[in-house]
Symmetry: C5
Subunit: 155 residues, 5 copies
């Protein structure tokens, strides 16, 4: 049975891990979920590494909500760099789901965005694991997670 890791944070202001888990369970079966919560996004790379190496996960969804200040942007950059490094060390995918606090106009929209993006990326996770042909069919389609799709451009 496949194992899906969920790495999330107590820093985030919305329980994105819960949304992702709910979406995973609503759409598929035949996998086990292992959740690991850490303080902040810079703790996510090693959390994912441990989920792969110590818990034998096949893929991990890493969820976080960077704040809106310059230092938060830098933390997100450092975390993302570490997540890519982790993937290269393990040959496994990590679906990064970051919602920046300044992406939404108010708290209500921010909560909606955090839920929606987590759910749509949960589907990407399932597709990478069980359904890679669906992703290939969508190549170049301008898909987005959270807000509406940009769509393909016409030549």
């Amino acid at each position: 049975m496949k194992k899906i890791g969920i790495a999330d944070t107590s820093f985030a202001r919305y329980d994105m891990g819960k949304s992702a888990i709910d979406e995973l369970k609503s759409n598929s079966t035949g996998f086990k979920i292992i959740r690991y919560t850490v303080p902040g996004i810079k703790d996510l790379p090693v959390a994912c590494k441990k989920l792969f190496d110590e818990q034998s996960c096949d893929i991990v969804i890493a969820l976080g909500m960077p704040g809106g200040k310059p230092i938060d942007k830098q933390c997100a950059h450092e975390a993302s760099t570490g997540l890519i490094q982790t993937q290269l060390m393990t040959n496994k995918h990590i679906i990064e789901v970051f919602v920046h606090e300044d992406e939404a106009k108010d708290e209500k929209e921010l909560a909606w965005l955090a839920d929606q993006r987590s759910r749509e990326h949960a589907i990407n996770c399932l597709d990478l694991l069980f359904n890679p042909d669906k992703l290939q069919k969508n190549a170049g389609k301008g898909l987005r997670q959270g807000y509406e799709d940009a769509g393909p451009i016409k030549g």
Copy 2:
């Protein structure tokens, strides 16, 4: 027989992978193409790593279309850094073909650019694989992919 990997995204708004594959097939034979589509450009480094390690590719063309916002530029930077790291871990070339959404004046030009750059880099891929002497002959010639060549400067 050589294996050429095509790593592309569903985030891109143009099917750059298709352009690259079409150009490869129009110009050469004696290779097999393996395509792997992932959600976004930050998923490309591990996609390429898997194409090398699990599919025995000899070279990979990685195609993506970063958006025009600062966060998109940062994602492109993180992806590029990961693509270079992947190459150093495998001793294989990855031809990065990124088209930034703000490089063109409108959607029509953007589609043209995405197609054209993918095709010209497909030729670079074939040259690296089968025809390194042609690249050496072009050293210092100011070649560009997509828009017209800058050309050599005169002393």
Copy 3:
């Protein structure tokens, strides 16, 4: 018995290591503390690496106070990147506790912040080591270390 490493600096203007150690000892037992002080934050990554490899630490708290100038921000970025790399090389957590000199309005608040953040992260360290369920219960709760919690947002 678990070993907790404390890596700190002589550059910092507050003895954050002392605060962290005091908090650790006030809240738990059954662990040994190994302290290693280096000149500046860029010396912290290898200090942590040595605490893991040569002192068999199970986790490290890395404490530092970057100055307020652009060059200091860059040093902090380089140090953070190294700390993440160290974690990926060792599969162990490093709790980074950085207090930037321009985060507080005066020296008194800065001292309070340095003490408070060190203490709250010491608790995170204990939770990661002995009490991961508590962290999971706090997923998405908008917790902060130092200043007051941002709290969860409502949808």
Copy 4:
């Protein structure tokens, strides 16, 4: 016999590799040159890695001409980071010779600069390989490659 690698690009607008090779041959003997031309500067790190691992080079000169736009600066940063990583993986020197298009006031000066910097770094390459004492004698002398030396400061 020592092997010197020359890694250069078809993106560059001046044949810097030719200048470097000419200078190497004019100043020394007892080495073999292996040239490898790739499309752009981001292809240089793996080109150098292959020159070390597959061609047994003892040192490599990596030459490139980043454009003047912000994206070009970022590419140069990514390439440089990769070149440093390559050196650490191989314990061999790479002499990076980058000429930025906005360093010169016109094309004529740019061509002169590209030629001159390539030649002066070719000498550095020979010194690292055959004559390290000369470099040590020049420690702190404010040497530059291309434009005139800054020279030592007086206390």
Copy 5:
């Protein structure tokens, strides 16, 4: 007997390596110094790596003087990142001593700063090697190298 590496550059406009060596010898005995001069700061990471791997150094002092332009700042960032990576690969300390050309108001002060910072970091090097307890005693004391200490803040 311990071996201390000195890695410096011909780009620097002051012989910082000489200052560091003089200070080391004035303050301690029982170690051997191995000096390695390279062209610029981006050559320092592999120089340090070679001092550890090929010369069996126990610690290295890496000295350089980045210029005042944006490109120089970027070079310093790349060099620093490489120096941290080197330390993580070897589990040995590198004391980075960089003096930025725009840190001083004139050449005379710059020369003084380069000399003074090199000397104070030479003492840090000796303390890391022979006297770690002294560093721990100074934790949180706001020490600086070159200009005067910032000192501890009061709560």
